[in-house]
Symmetry: C2
Subunit: 430 residues, 2 copies
Amino acid sequence: MMRTRPLRVALLGCGVVGSEVARIMTTQAADLAARIGAPVELAGIAVRRPDRVRAGVPQELITTDATALVKRGDIDVVVEVIGGIEPVRTLITTAFEHGAGVVSANKALLAAHGAALHAAATAAGVDLYYEAAVAGAIPLIRPLRESLAGDKVNRVLGIVNGTTNFILDRMTSTGAGYSEALDEATALGYAEADPTADVEGFDAAAKAAILAGIAFHTRVTIDDVHREGLTEVTAADIASATRMGCVVKLLAICERAADGRSVTARVHPAMIPLSHPLAGVREAYNAVFVEADAAGQLMFYGPGAGGAPTASAVLGDLVAACRNKLADRTGVGESAYTELPVSSMGEVVTRYHISLDVADKPGVLAQVATVFAEHQVSIDTVRQQGKDGEASLVVVTHRAPDAALSATVDALRKLDTVRGVASIMRVEGE
Amino acid sequence: MMRTRPLRVALLGCGVVGSEVARIMTTQAADLAARIGAPVELAGIAVRRPDRVRAGVPQELITTDATALVKRGDIDVVVEVIGGIEPVRTLITTAFEHGAGVVSANKALLAAHGAALHAAATAAGVDLYYEAAVAGAIPLIRPLRESLAGDKVNRVLGIVNGTTNFILDRMTSTGAGYSEALDEATALGYAEADPTADVEGFDAAAKAAILAGIAFHTRVTIDDVHREGLTEVTAADIASATRMGCVVKLLAICERAADGRSVTARVHPAMIPLSHPLAGVREAYNAVFVEADAAGQLMFYGPGAGGAPTASAVLGDLVAACRNKLADRTGVGESAYTELPVSSMGEVVTRYHISLDVADKPGVLAQVATVFAEHQVSIDTVRQQGKDGEASLVVVTHRAPDAALSATVDALRKLDTVRGVASIMRVEGE
């Protein structure tokens, strides 16, 4: 049953993920061959620093000329685990032009240029797979694209960044502030030296864009995603969430509008009830909740990062791409037929939890309530609390458009009796 | 892009699941056509009772002659949601012979005759898909077969029967006994009038066989699966579990042996720690935990039964089968190349929680401990408790082969000082 010529794979990048991919391709070669129907071999590994020692990676395959590697003409599949936009975008396009399918773990690239890359893959008659780009080892893209292909997905709600989940989990379990929890995450290797992409939500926003596009069969780029990081989440916010029977998570939320005519995608910290399955996702784990018309509520949970878990997703795609190469076909590609537009954050319907520092005198609550009413925002609960001559008001609203909620907060800030807005956080998952 | 001739689907069975499939095929026709690349239409619906009114199902498509329907020759895909072995096995084989791919939700058939059916599908050059056969709407078969195709799965641990999970959840939350909880499940429609298939574990065992075969790339039938139902679980067992920080679940467990040379598959009630993600699976929900070498621990969670959720899985498979028909190809089929044998329950390595009623006199614990030692079973903890002149001993063992544990219990029963073995339950998920 085996073809004589093995399938040839070029690996671009050999860091934490790439070296795991190379290791598994070597140690599991017989299983991969049996599952693919032909042996698969590493034809070359492009790296920036050829002198760096990589345990278990055949030194003779190492090259610094990635372009020459993808242009060889005998490469069946290119695995890209470099990251970033350039030179990767050019390398992948070149790989397509030379007849290679591509497996990528590159969320930033896919979230920015997914449509063009899919078009280039289709034009070349090859595959573009990227399961590893979202939530590491957790199968999400294939289930959304194929398992749920007969269903209508209405919402995707997920914890898709392990670093920020670790930080928030620590803040929740120890009462630590943001900086302290970030320091711990850095010390334990969960946060990078420059944590910006994680803590400012860029990483999660790229994943939200990819998930929204696939879930709603439309095109969503990272520029369409409303993004707020967690740097402003305070220990007081976490304590407020606890009092409400909630926990704070950095969520990626993709929703179909109630009228079905548009979609939204956003990343921000939010309170979710302790009873929600996502509330129990601890440390650096990821989990994604999917709500579909017929399926109901599904959840996918697992390690969202790390060398081996990400390599697992890469290798699943590699097996699929190799099988398709053998059969001279391509797998399920982009589906963007709905062409649903992406609405702005103002149109998202959500709830706010707002803590106000107010003057401790009669009539304040009435004033505050009037502001909410003027903006058509209905109040669910109010809790008043005195402290040292001042008072605090904690208001939780009913669902309303984000623009109305935001305008309400602006108007509250202008009230003389409101000394300050201590915190604002959305409440999700109810 | 659309072909003129629509893809034709024959539906066998129009009960709870079938009528949902028919409904969604009608209401979502435009989306299904866009995702498949051609319109898809219901060509006929075979039922036993043609006079029964089925809301939204076109009466002119109803027939009682399923054989004639699958033999028509113009059917692209047959959807089978009848259940049971015959006449379904013959109908599916006939469908293959007439060039139709098959989408089935039939766990009993696949667990008994999966290999032969796959062979027949391969011989005919058509697809056999059955995502709906395991855990309803939860994507499991495609993720195991495709997303994890580059990984090595070592264990699958799941709650795959909603009825029994509902019963155990009620026993845990209300302290009710088994019969009382079963009555409630029946009244609420979670249990059938004859609950045997669920409460005796047959349903879960069929699913375990299917999952084990796919996870380990070998063949496992329901006869290979060790099966214990939950009819003997008592309120006292549940209370013991609570005292241990555990909860009782009916688990389907598929494992690769430590030496990698065999696999096991079993279904039985077991205690799992409250901290385990499966412990939080409430009511009739299903969840499956997958442990793989590279991916680590993944969990898939969702509704495991019901018309619409099962239809979601059926329709996902239908879209895949239709796409393949259009491209004149087949998807990923059976993979059984490892030919790993299935070991018996005696070789499973697990832990026991044993409650003994013993005489309240000196030396009993020493006697009991000696029996464990003689069988090479190491004790983790012992708790002694006096009650009315008698005493109870609760022993939790370390991991040992099930045969040794079982022989230990037999020997304990023969001790004069042991009045009775009040309960035995395995402890998993640690």
